[in-house]
């Protein structure tokens, strides 16, 4: 649709518009891909830390590396989401809701990680697993909030 209107606007602007549409589409695809990636990574973290809790183990260095990876993905999602809004794209369920969910998604795993540092038992691992469940749920909601 963007291409059709661009073509009507004349050959000179058509190229620029089309390029804009390509960038917009690839960023949009990136946001969707990040949403799925963060969701899958969060579920993996649930399984991993849930297993540690089941084995009666606290969170260890490797778990924290995993949490860092998930947090970096969520941060990338936050940045891409805000860039999309800045480019004039609109979230289906409203900008405020979208931004609040993005921030919540970014904070959920680091907050649980800090809590697990204070509780060096299986319950620290269980808390991180619960934080990752929250993140996975937020990703499902984010997918709906963005796409409708």
């Amino acid at each position: 649709m963007a291409k059709a209107t661009a073509a009507a606007a004349g050959p000179g602007r058509a190229g620029a518009r089309a390029r804009g549409a390509v960038v917009r589409n690839s960023l949009g695809a990136m946001l969707d891909a990040l949403t799925v990636a963060v969701g899958v990574a969060a579920l993996a973290l649930v399984a991993w830390c849930g297993f540690a809790a089941y084995r009666d183990q606290p969170t260890k260095d490797w778990h924290f590396i995993g949490m860092a990876v998930v947090s970096v993905l969520a941060l990338a999602q936050l940045v891409v989401g805000i860039v999309q809004l800045a480019r004039g794209e609109r979230a289906h369920d409203g900008t405020t809701t979208f931004v609040v969910y993005l921030i919540g998604a970014f904070l959920s795993v680091p907050a649980a990680a800090f809590l697990s540092l204070t509780e060096r038992t299986r319950w620290g691992s269980a808390t991180v697993a619960a934080g990752a469940v929250v993140l996975a749920v937020l990703e499902v909601r984010l997918y709906d909030i963005w796409g409708g």
């Binding site: 809701t97 809590l115 204070t118 509780e119 808390t127 619960a130």
Partner: protein, 159 residues
């Protein structure tokens, strides 16, 4: 009680100040399973508070009853989180009472939304027993009360 209490959430940060003035022996409620509990309560607090602020600011008129009930839920969650983080016997009792109130609220509002959906053009946190929140609202107060009853009497004598 030299270990740091918690960090990371807003409610937990407040406890940093409370933790310093903590008398030795105050029942620590954020330990073991209590940490998981306080984490779930803080998540529910953040969720319910942000949700009800948004609802009240943006579209209160569309469903005043539902949005007021969401605000009540938000206050209850925030208060329970605070008492759990603070610790101590008084806080434990207060949290116990609030968990019972929360359970009653979930059951009453849940039943109400099921019996008379027309009264709720928009859903609340506690609609259909908290189905929108994976039934955590109905499970949380039960586990909360079990935990709070169990941690009774681990005060000065044992600490």
């Amino acid at each position: 009680m030299t270990e740091p209490v918690t960090a990371g959430t807003k409610a937990a940060e407040r406890s940093g100040a409370a933790g310093k003035s903590e008398r030795p022996g105050r029942t620590r409620l954020v330990a073991g399973p209590g940490l998981l509990l306080v984490w779930l309560y803080s998540v529910m607090s953040v969720g319910a508070v942000s949700r009800s602020v948004y609802e009240i600011v943006v579209r209160f008129d569309t469903a005043p009853l539902a949005h007021s009930l969401s605000a009540v839920a938000a206050v209850v969650y925030a208060f329970i989180t605070y008492t759990l983080v603070r610790g101590g016997e008084t806080a434990r009792r207060a949290a116990l009472v609030c968990c019972a109130a929360e359970l009653a609220g979930v059951l009453i509002v849940g039943t109400w939304t099921v019996l008379e959906p027309s009264a709720f053009p928009d859903s609340t946190v506690w609609s259909a027993y908290g189905m929108g929140y994976v039934f955590i609202p109905v499970l949380l107060p039960v586990t909360g009360m079990l935990w709070l009853r169990r941690s009774r009497g681990t005060g000065p004598a044992e600490a």
